[in-house]
Amino acid sequence: MTLQAEPTTAPLTHLPTYDDDAPPPVPRASLGKPSPDERFAHIGSWAAGVALAWLVTQRLLPLDGLPWFFIACFVLGTLVTAVTAAMTGGMIDVKDRVATSVVTWAAILVITAVVSTIVFVAMRGWRPAMHLNFYTQDMSGVGPKDSFESGGILHAILGSGIELGIALVITLPLGIGTAVFMTEVGGKFARIVRTVVEAMTALPSIVAGLFIYVVLIVALGFPRSGLAAALAIAVMMLPIIARAADVVLRVVPGGLREASLALGASRWRTVWYVVLPTARPGLATAVILGIARGVGETSPVLLTSGAAAFTVTGPTDGVMNSLPLFIYTNVRSGEPQAIARAFGAAFVLLALVLILFVIARLLARPRGTGPTIRARLAGALSPNRAPR
């Protein structure tokens, strides 16, 4: 401390000079809640855009029809927004506003597309789906032109269930087992397996179907059957489920594994009692999304199962129908009544996928965040609930 420090010259501090000719700083649009002014400019410019669109499409140019009106709304609304933004701010504000409107319109377009898909299938398919016999009968002895009072898709639903059940019995243990092997055992061999599994997720589903068709039906001479379709679905689903389960198992915190091992548990006990229970919601989601993919895939069953009009319950008893195949064959027939039936089946298939999807979402919900449905019900029903 007593050492004399060498007198050094401190670097000079430069005071920023104020440029008198500089333009005044542009006040940026606030990032919080929009002010009344901004809201007025926003709503006003869109109202102007819609009015202009009406004028242009309905009165000035020969562009009638709803699609043109919406396109004109988008273009002109964005234009007016840009102009109003340019009135108060610079180029930066214009870009920001235009980007906001483009992004929002893209999101609206995507949501419209999804909703239109679901609503369109429901609208075209509700008529046959309203008849109870649609779910309790098959199509044996029913002509394509018969009314919806007779015939149904029981055989297709049963076939889909059986094929998917067999495929799941094969893929579930193998897929999750492979994922456990890749994450918990590891080693050089596991890396090879992971590479191959990831590569095979690229296998187009029709090629999986063609593979089973060539091996089982052409080379080995088995007839087309539900079993062949189930195997084709399994070949398609196995890499998907293995990969998804691998991703889920990899996010299990390493600390949990180490804690279990440090307490003296053996490795398989660690896997069985710590890793798998921790990953259970994620695994369930992976499996259910795999099922949703498998139940809707048409191309493997198109090649391997053959469309039967009657109920077949034995997987090896020859041709067996399934929901996607039923839809496909009926749409290709071109008969309006058959197409309506196909839409009914598509409606059922979509509802099935939706239900599976909701179950997957409920299972994937992490525990402990937010009250459970039961707790919420109990809270709503109790007369004097504590204020939060």
């Binding site: 940026r28 649009a29 504000d93 920001d96 980007a99 893209a106 999101a107 995507v110 999804v114 239109s116 898909t117 679901i118 369109f120 299938v121 075209r124 243990p173 193998l174 897929g175 087992g177 492979t178 092997f181 055992v185 061999f189 596991a190 090879i192 397996v193 191959v196 599994v197 990831e198 590569a199 690229a202 296998l203 187009p204 029709i206 090629v207 063609l210 593979f211 068709y213 060539v214 070949v235 196995l238 890499p239 990899r250 053996s266 490795r267 398989w268 006990r269 896997v271 999304l289 809707g296 895939e297 191309s299 090649l303 996607p324 839809i327 749409v331 839409f343 298939l349 979509l350 999807f357």
Partner: protein, 349 residues
């Protein structure tokens, strides 16, 4: 180790030294890298499962290559350059179907790419926070909708509008070769609808609905991992929301954008049933995407497997193998891009 303790005087001894008899009771855990007992069974079982899966799905790939080989050997390079698929005349080539496959996939991607980037940006940056989870669920649901449903949607709902749009494109941009439609008069009083439907363009729209959610999910995941500190820094320096996105979110998410797009492209190339429903098969090489008739590798397989003889099946398998190789290369590139980039640090986790 105990030496300092034993040297302390008797009067100060407060700690008791464990007697040798007690030490003998403690048996240290045997430490071995080799697993024993249940563990050995577990490891062996896991290895067996891994090996069997490797054999099964690796076998598919090897089988395809093995079956494709005689065809590739017989037709050589003409398999890739010949456009006609006429097994009766011993003329087989996949040039036309490859062009068709690529054009359908490119139409699909040119619709799905901007939409998925913008949708991912909307979800991660623009949407109100309370809707965010629902929007993510909506995209996941979109990915779960069966492809045949999108096929129905594209065929019955979208195709009339798509044909109208195709006519408009031809009228205004017909001088660009890809928007040309042959044998039609775009300015005719009554336009010939049949020339504009069942085209690669219509199929591409339906396929774009299938690949959009896949690409969007990857991009959203990556965008949501942008470090909040960097976003806040950009905003604190006076950037607008769009300025923050272009300077922070998009550069950070570049790997995710490229990877998601390529994953979508891989799916688009292999899509079958929506294409089979919509296009009417034709085997000529043409860039005119708005014109009726095209063919993709998967629609070729779906259309021709029924009446095929053994050698024709081998040719179909060869076509399927080429398709698989293309999607494999694209998916691998996508994985590499996502993993290499900075934003890929946590995409798997």
């Amino acid at each position: 180790m105990f030496a300092p303790l034993s040297e302390t005087p008797e009067s100060q001894q407060l700690t008791t030294i464990p007697t040798p008899a007690a030490v003998a009771e403690v048996r240290p855990r045997k430490i071995s890298r080799k697993s024993t007992g249940g563990d050995a069974v577990f490891e062996l079982g896991a290895r067996a499962i891994g090996a069997s899966v490797l054999v099964i799905i690796g076998g598919v790939g090897v089988f395809l290559a093995w079956q494709a080989y005689p065809t590739l050997e017989r037709y050589g390079w003409s398999f890739f350059t010949e456009s006609d698929w006429a097994p009766d005349k011993d003329v087989i080539g996949i040039a036309a179907v490859l062009v068709g496959t690529v054009s359908v996939a490119l139409v699909a991607m040119s619709i799905a790419f901007p939409l998925s980037v913008l949708m991912a940006l909307y979800i991660s940056e623009y949407s109100p926070v309370r809707f965010r989870a629902s929007l993510v669920a909506l995209i996941d649901l979109m990915a779960a909708v069966p492809s045949i449903v999108y096929g129905l949607w594209g065929f019955f709902l979208i195709m009339p509008y798509a044909a109208e749009l195709a006519l408009w494109l031809q009228q205004n941009f017909g001088w660009i070769p890809i928007f040309d439609v042959e044998n039609t008069n775009p300015d005719a009083a009554v336009w010939d609808t049949t020339r504009y439907v069942s085209s690669a363009f219509c199929a591409g729209i339906a396929v774009s609905m299938m690949v959009m959610p896949m690409a969007c999910a990857v991009m959203r995941q990556v965008f949501s991992q942008t470090p909040p500190g960097e976003k806040e820094a950009a905003l604190a320096l006076g950037a607008t929301r769009w300025g923050m996105i272009t300077s922070v979110v998009l550069p950070f998410g570049r790997g995710g954008i490229i990877g998601g797009t390529m994953l979508g492209l891989g799916r688009a190339l292999g899509e079958t049933i929506a294409v089979v429903l919509i296009v009417s098969p034709a085997f000529d090489i043409k860039p005119r995407i708005l014109e009726i008739g095209t063919s993709t590798v998967s629609s070729l397989i779906a259309g021709r497997f029924g009446e095929a003889s053994t050698s024709q099946l081998s040719a179909l398998l060869a076509a399927g193998f080429v398709l698989f190789m293309i999607t494999l290369v694209i998916n691998t590139l996508a994985a590499v891009v996502v993993n290499r980039s900075r934003s890929g640090a946590g995409t798997d986790a």
